[in-house]
């Protein structure tokens, strides 16, 4: 082993071959883009699946010849079968949660910008980084394969509740090979996420440049760090649950399958397992997962609001502590997903109180965002609109969280459309707004060209109004008592009034989905034809804006920056510009 000291320049000779540069790359920026594009494919796939099941809800008896050609098994006898509807719901949820909301904000943008924002030349373990992407890629391929295998995709929801998910073929066609592939894919995904989380934490704690103290890190870095800690501690529990579930299916064990179960007129040869055990294991992961999805969005929103309001973030330290408090509390509230599972009222009460406690740091964040905007000279760019939109959705979705966190309200609303509206606003769409805000904000840095603002704003308004039109009515439907997961509501008299809601939501969903094509068009047109971007087009302060757009192979061209300032020094009295970059020399008062 050579003891020769390495220089940064010598180590970071850029790879020249296509394979090493773009496929099996060790460069965190390329890996970040790989994750981003993986999520981009996943989000359009997931959105497509949602449109398919929305068609069933709006026009239950309609025939869809084109879809029937792609999925012949799902259209036996003409209209979409209820089983196919459920499998679409399952795959939509799974693909969105794992391959979009977990992948893009953390692994995508985190990989690209975390090392740059802390002044590092790369992640701590580049090889591990490459591995975590390719493991995630394999996981996604397995998941997509589950759509097309014999019997079709699984239909037990993204939560894969046992015993339905544990029984195998007998519980339905998709519960055979499709469900097995689902479990394997999730297990593989866990491993990829663990490798990534390990790398993120190590990089933040060990690779910061001089002057980048923890309290000078951009809030995005804080949220990526917290998210990585959550992933590190929650994914192993999902993996444990996944292993047990797989053995129930293929090894004849009875972890989750109770005795005396009769399915399709057959007595199941299992004994004594507990379906509730799966819920505990799943939600111990599942609740932190919600924060894994949304925390990076909170970091991005802080970055956007501060930059475009031209003001320091209001209460930086409070924001950091709030992020940590949300992350920590997230581990102790999984029971609020199980209020109707026969949980003892005492534990339900404890889970309920802890759940409501999360309202406190969430409110701290919300008020600090408003405080940041207050009196600011706000520049309404597309990115800032998405940041403000994030706050709006976070409030709408968060308020209903307070409803559902109380057992007395949750019990009648559980398994209705109310939680569907709630979690889509806060976990789904708010996180997506974080991703989109980050895309519009960092696009110039990532691709060296500006993204078109006019198309961006059209995209924003259609999306913002669209998602509210989709998910707000669901709350009303929930209060009307419409159950989740039903493929059709026309057969029940008390739901007769909801069919017009279904129609409205489906039309809104189609329009919103079409608006995403504007984004896609804008994105690819701007990558190739957009106006050339300057190094710091937004006049922002963090380290990624000190280097060229797009950044060179080793970020800082062999140099390591020295940080003298906090991350959000806008409008500092006496400074020559209205922003002080983190690498600017210390401000000196001349007398």
């Amino acid at each position: 082993m050579s003891e020769t000291p390495h220089t940064h320049a010598a180590v970071h000779a850029a790879p020249t071959g296509f394979i090493r540069k773009w496929v099996f790359s060790l460069d965190h920026k390329v890996i970040g883009l790989q994750y981003y594009f993986l999520a981009l494919i996943a989000v359009f796939l997931g959105m497509g699946l949602s449109i398919i099941f929305r068609l069933r809800l709006a026009w239950p008896t309609e025939h869809w010849p084109l879809l029937a050609k792609i999925f012949p098994a799902g259209f036996e006898g003409g209209p979409m079968t209820p089983e196919f509807y459920l499998s679409m719901v399952t795959m939509h949820g799974t693909i969105m949660v794992f391959f979009v909301l977990t992948t893009a904000p953390q692994s995508g943008f985190g990989n690209y910008f975390l090392p740059i924002q802390i002044g590092a030349h790369d992640m701590a373990f580049p090889v591990l980084n490459m591995l975590s992407f390719w493991v995630t890629f394999v996981s996604m391929m397995i998941m997509v394969a589950a759509l097309f295998v014999t019997g079709g995709a699984p239909l037990s929801g993204w939560t894969a509740y046992a015993p339905l998910s544990a029984l195998g073929q007998i519980a339905g066609p998709g519960q055979g090979l499709g469900q097995t592939l689902w479990i394997i894919s999730i297990a593989v995904f866990c491993i990829g996420s663990l490798l990534g989380a390990l790398n993120f934490i190590t990089t933040v704690l060990n690779m910061r440049c001089q002057g980048m103290s923890l309290m000078r890190m951009p809030l995005t870095v804080w949220t990526w760090l917290t998210t990585a800690i959550l992933a590190l501690l929650s994914f192993p529990v999902l993996l444990a649950g996944g292993i047990l579930l797989l053995f129930d299916r293929v090894g004849g064990t009875s972890f989750f399958i109770p005795a005396g179960l009769v399915v399709s007129d057959k007595l199941i040869q299992h004994s004594g397992g507990s379906p509730i055990l799966w819920q505990h294991l799943f939600w111990f992961f599942g609740h932190p997962e919600v924060y894994i999805a949304i925390l990076p969005g909170m970091g991005v929103t802080s970055q956007l609001l501060s930059t475009f309001a031209r003001k320091p973030i209001f209460g930086y330290k409070a924001m950091v502590y709030a992020v940590f408090a949300i992350g920590l509390l997230g581990f102790f509230v999984w029971g609020h997903h199980m209020f109707v599972s026969g949980l003892s009222p005492m534990s339900a009460l404890v889970f309920s109180i802890l759940t409501l406690t999360i309202g406190v740091p969430s409110a701290v964040k919300t008020f600090n965002w408003l405080g940041t905007l207050w009196g600011g000279k706000i520049r309404f760019t597309t990115a800032s609109l998405f940041g403000i939109g994030f706050v709006s959705l976070f409030v709408s979705g968060g308020i209903t969280g307070i409803f559902l966190g109380q057992t007395s309200v949750d019990i009648p609303l559980h398994d209705t459309y109310f939680p569907v509206g709630h979690f889509h606003l806060i976990m789904g769409v708010a996180s997506i707004f974080g991703i989109l805000g980050a895309t519009y904000y960092w696009f110039p840095k990532m691709f060296g060209r500006m993204i078109n603002e006019t198309l961006g704003k059209i995209h924003f308004w259609f999306t913002f109004i669209g998602v509210n039109a989709i998910f707000m009515p669901m709350h009303v439907m929930g209060i009307m008592g419409h159950p989740r997961r039903y493929a059709q509501s026309t057969e029940y008299q008390y739901l007769a009034g909801t069919q017009s809601f279904h129609l409205f939501i489906t039309i809104a969903a189609i329009i919103t989905a079409l608006a995403q094509l504007v984004f896609l068009l804008n994105f690819f047109w701007s990558v190739f034809k957009g106006k050339k971007a300057a190094d710091n087009p937004w006049e922002a302060t963090t380290l990624e804006w000190t280097i060229p757009s797009p950044p060179p192979h080793d970020n800082f061209a062999g140099k390591i920056p020295i940080v003298n300032h906090g991350p959000y020094e806008y409008g500092v009295p006496g400074a020559p510009r209205d922003f002080v970059m983190q690498t600017d020399p210390p401000l000196q008062v001349r007398r």
């Binding site: 082993m1 003891e3 000291p5 390495h6 220089t7 940064h8 320049a9 010598a10 790369d122 701590a124 373990f125 090889v127 663990l194 989380a197 390990l198 790398n199 190590t202 704690l205 060990n206 690779m207 001089q210 590190l232 501690l233 929650s234 192993p236 529990v237 993996l239 444990a240 649950g241 292993i243 047990l244 053995f247 004849g252 064990t253 972890f255 109770p258 005795a259 004994s271 004594g272 397992g273 507990s274 509730i276 055990l277 505990h280 294991l281 140099k559 390591i560 020295i562 009295p573 006496g574 400074a575 020559p576 600017d584 020399p585 210390p586 401000l587 000196q588 008062v589 001349r590 007398r591």
Partner: protein, 227 residues
Amino acid sequence: MPATIAPPEVDNKPKGSHDSSGGGFDGGGWRDDSHRWGNFGGSEPQTPIDAYRLAMWLALASIVMLFAGLSSAYVFRMGASPDWRSISIPSFLLPNSCLLLASSLTLELFRRGLKSGLDSRTRLWVALTSLLGAGFLAGQVWIWKTLSAQGIYLSSNSHSSFFYLMTGTHGVHLAGGVIALLVLCWKAWRHVHVTRGLKTFSDLTAIYWHFMDGLWIYLFLLLFLWR
């Protein structure tokens, strides 16, 4: 009294390849901190050595969570239904556990030996450690075989399910440790002197291996004291 920004004192010259042996500041605004960077493993020479140690502890934290998940499932399942039947301790399990405990001891003897240099005896300790580790794994497989010969299978009852599952999951992790030990053997034979890379690798392997050892004691106690 106007305050203003002082003129930049930052030397923007990129560093050459000749001056990176020292530490601290090099006069300009860009720091040369090459002394912090490890030269471990060859492929990632820019990662601080501390990072490897931290990453190992983080990996162990996630393994703790994996087994915490399995353990809580074990305890929950035990109380969930009256069908719980315990299996008795396989007779070879205790002696086999001694193999693993002994391997931790020999690994420490190897690490102590490293302090006085790489001699043939030191190398033998690491070889013996790998042998004991592999022996334990083989013993576990043999225990599985004897159990199944007695008609106790994975699906026989819930206690046996957990026994196979937990010993299997532990075994998979331990197999990774055996691979690390074999790499350590190979490095110990290849090197004449103790390098920093070898030292770091042996430290990391030791953290992992002792952890796997402790995890096994925990699993043993869980599976056979709490049944």
